[in-house]
Symmetry: C2
Subunit: 313 residues, 2 copies
């Protein structure tokens, strides 16, 4: 059995072309019927302010399947521990034997989420998009910026954070990004907006968004979170989700759905967009992608790590 | 993180009083509302004749929770591999941190299932029961016999197997057990019958069972399996299950339910029986316990292994 720590996994896979293509294929696998994705397992620990999600699945033809066990315990920082952690287990889809324990502590989730946000943005924004605004200054904002830089080397990336010092610190870690001092102003001139905050009240208002703008929202992944004004989601010309059911249930699209403004028929699946079978935007369309996370991405990352670990042996 | 191999786990826990009490408490936790047991996760691999079950849960007050990933790939023996395998992961219920990887290869499942069968039998059989018949000669029959011997040292244990050589080999591994040459004859004189076979056709007929007999059935744990004639299940004076919904859906009681002969109201929960809050048998009652397996048992075993491993450090 292969057992890898976070530093070992970081050395094997980061923002690169194979990882990007793995993420793209993970989305396509949902839409073309290759993915077997049972419902996500959930355990709540209300007294400890924690929860655990168990994501698992298999992509037809893969020789492995993966189980990801990821926890968030929100009192952890006071104990000197990160609030999120996780492990990914890889098993043979031919014999059931455990092949690997990837003690990535959430690194692969951060990476695939950043790559997914960049992939969705590139697939849906206008080809001539220049001004990219990242809303948020945490771990996920970092990986979004890294992934955008990889996919669109000439993008102008501005970062806005509620905490200006954190935004400046993030910009200092990235090459060529700038701080956006004012969120409204940044949004009004943006070609692409990527949101990665834990906001429970909408940050981005509908009337800030100019025609042709694309927005990718990755922050809202559980009930009560919301980054975009409900009217903005309702007003969009095109809504895309990695998993439509999840997005309407507990993602960014849930609020517009709860208000009766949109339904499943008003959303498209990102995998179908990436397969080129569905969408074509008009230049002035406002488009929104909402990503709540899917297990095929975890499988894809685990498979890539494992193949590289075996090749390095 | 504590990491233990099967031999290390075998050295830490086997048929003993603490393990038995842990299994009893695991059943009670379901009935008294302490257990948080989400639906079992399932992945099928039909092309490889395999499947994977992911059981997880938490018992209120426990400082840990567990996730068990257990696979059966039925072409494995031809490849020189066991058909079943599994791992149990233990996490802190206070911080989400992974505390242990128990690479038990299914040992803890075998052990807790054997202990569970003996616990259920002792709870439900007449106090003066003497003649115990185990139907089956596989791994599970072995653990049932070991567990019965622990709980009822004076029990006369006879083993019947479809394959007489395997039954003899099993008897040779056990102290004081005998081979039952004829199944019908053994059943007709049995006080307690324990079935642990993968039978897809009923082995035990209703008219073989004398008044006062108790039967514990552990073999039928998925659709299509059946060890007891449907008429026997329907005829029983008392039906008990570790998990009533599972038993009626894909356990031994499923066939009588499908035939419209019994429903949920005709079954009692083993945890309630063990808590002493419910059942009292008449001496001539025929009673049946059906065990399909519950995650609280896996949690209880993992907790015991972990506490002993820490104590030994």
């Amino acid at each position: 059995m292969i057992q890898l720590s976070r530093p070992q996994i970081e050395a094997l896979v980061s923002v690169d072309e194979a990882a990007t293509e793995a993420v793209r294929d993970a989305y396509r696998a949902i839409s073309d019927g290759r993915a077997n994705l049972p419902p996500v397992g959930y355990l709540g620990f209300p007294a400890a302010h924690g929860d655990c999600h168990i994501k698992f699945g298999h992509i037809a033809g893969d020789t492995v399947f993966a189980v990801k066990i990821a926890s968030g315990f929100y009192d952890n920082p006071a104990k000197g521990l990160p609030s999120s952690t996780g492990v990914v287990l890889v098993f043979s889809a031919l014999t059931g034997q455990m092949e690997a324990l990837l003690a990535d502590e959430g690194y692969l989730t951060d990476l695939r989420t950043g790559l997914g946000g960049a992939v969705a943005s590139l697939a849906l924004c206008r080809p001539n998009s220049q001004r990219f605004v990242i809303v948020g200054s945490g771990t996920q904002a970092y990986w979004l910026a890294r992934s955008l830089r990889h996919l669109m080397p000439k993008a102008e990336i501005a970062i806005w954070g509620r905490n200006a010092a954190r935004a400046s610190a993030l910009v200092a870690r990235l090459q060529g990004a700038t701080v956006a001092p004012d969120l409204e102003q940044a949004c009004r001139s943006a070609d692409v907006i990527l949101t990665a905050t834990p906001a429970a009240e909408p940050l981005i208002q509908a009337d800030w968004i100019r025609p042709g703008c694309h927005i990718t929202a990755i922050g809202a992944d559980s009930p009560g979170k919301q980054e975009l004004e409900t009217a903005l989601v309702a007003r969009a010309d095109l809504r895309v989700a990695d998993n439509i059911a999840q997005s309407l249930d507990h993602g960014e699209f849930a609020h517009a759905r709860a208000a009766g403004l949109i339904g499943p028929g008003d959303c498209m699946e990102l995998g179908a967009v990436l397969a080129g079978t569905s969408v074509r935007r008009a230049p002035d369309d406002i488009t929104i992608a909402d990503l709540t996370g899917v297990a095929t991405q975890d499988i894809a990352m685990a498979r890539l790590v494992l193949s590289r670990a075996k090749a390095a042996q």
